[in-house]
Symmetry: C2
DNA sequence: CCGGAGTGGTGACATTCGTCATGGACCGGC
DNA sequence: GCCGGTCCATGACGAATGTCACCACTCCGG
């Protein structure tokens, strides 16, 4: 019996997934969580075989949670389901040791099959997402450029970004400028959109 | 027996909802659709009693779809479930004759109950969403301000917005400026975020 | 040990943006 | 018919932003 932990902030989805997976032979949902913290606590108590994580949780993202789970609950393998399949996340997830990555557009039977694959130590990535990731390529941004661009995402002025990043305004503008040109954007706001679309921030 | 149509682009959610609702007495899922067009076609064929629609479908939003369903399939009542409960949408939905509006964070039993309520001609709105909608109030923006702000959403420079809106750059800046001040934002990009969060664009 | 890449910074310059005052045209309500 | 609100526009001013050149430091790989 494969013991599964579900983590998704949407109650409806969570209980629905539970219903779906329960119909499958050899799969049992032993715990549910709405937040990453809750999921960690649950995983410590129940030591599930596979954790099915939503990409976006209220407190952190599913990739960070997966890393924590690997560290704290060694026997637990992880897989991520997501509504918005941005390519960049896939790379980060795979690099973080996540065993499966699929969009919520897949069918229930595929989900169950992937749970089994991941439990057996295998990996599965949705073919369409994989294709997107390959065509999108790596982020051309450096670490700091990404940081600064992320801080610029909410439309904050340069000065505030500078304070939050502990940089001088001039440096911030340099980073934003180079990021925008790398992304083929006319300004930082367009750059934010491009980077978001590719999952680079 | 209440005959239900499901419309959601996420296969996983759709089949999961089907599984959930099938467990309920007196509810039967007779059709599923991944797009609005598909949902319309299905509704014409099956004439469901209640249509459960996702707010965001690939081709249009659930509110537009609900309006079309009311026009083309008279006996069909509608309700909307959504991941992102932006207040503005709720108002538009209610104005469009939608019978139920709830976030996907609700439990399965609530969902089933709302299906029954809506089928009986009643209305149900998630209390939290309702509170948000009331506190958020109506959009303070005029029609043109909304238009221009929407065009500004992708980070385009003023000149491009002006061309796309058939306005002079000066006028565009005036609208953006007044929109930003109405929304309490320091600049148009922050204004876009605020308006998005409230469902005003 | 040298070069390249990344990081952090300064200063200058042109452009864009935000803001305000002002004006005219149009429409609906009193 | 007048008033108020919205729509569209112009011009001008200062602040914010984008761009460029240039510098110093660190770290890593060849």
């Amino acid at each position: 019996m494969i013991r599964v932990l579900l983590a998704d902030d949407e109650n409806l989805i969570r209980s629905a997934l539970r219903a779906l997976l329960s119909l499958e032979d050899g799969i049992e949902v032993v715990a549910e969580a709405a937040t990453a913290d809750e999921a960690l606590a649950m995983a410590r108590s129940y030591a599930p075989d596979v954790a099915v994580l939503d990409l976006q949780l209220p407190d952190r993202d599913g990739i960070a949670l997966a890393a924590e789970l690997h560290a704290e609950v060694p026997g637990c393998r992880t897989m991520i389901v997501t509504s918005h399949g941005r390519p960049g996340y896939l790379k980060r997830a795979l690099a973080g040791g996540v065993g499966g990555f699929l969009p919520k557009t897949v069918s229930a039977s595929v989900l169950a099959q992937v749970v089994r694959t991941v439990h057996a130590g295998g990996r599965y990535v949705d073919p369409e997402l994989a294709a997107e990731a390959i065509s999108a390529g790596d982020s051309p941004l450096t670490a700091r450029e990404s940081d600064v661009l992320e801080l610029a995402a909410e439309g904050a002025p340069v000065e505030e970004i500078a304070r939050r990043a502990a940089l001088t305004p001039g440096t911030v503008r340099n980073y934003l400028s180079s990021a925008a040109s790398k992304l083929g954007a006319a300004n930082r706001h367009e750059a934010v959109h491009v980077a978001r679309r590719h999952g680079w921030i």
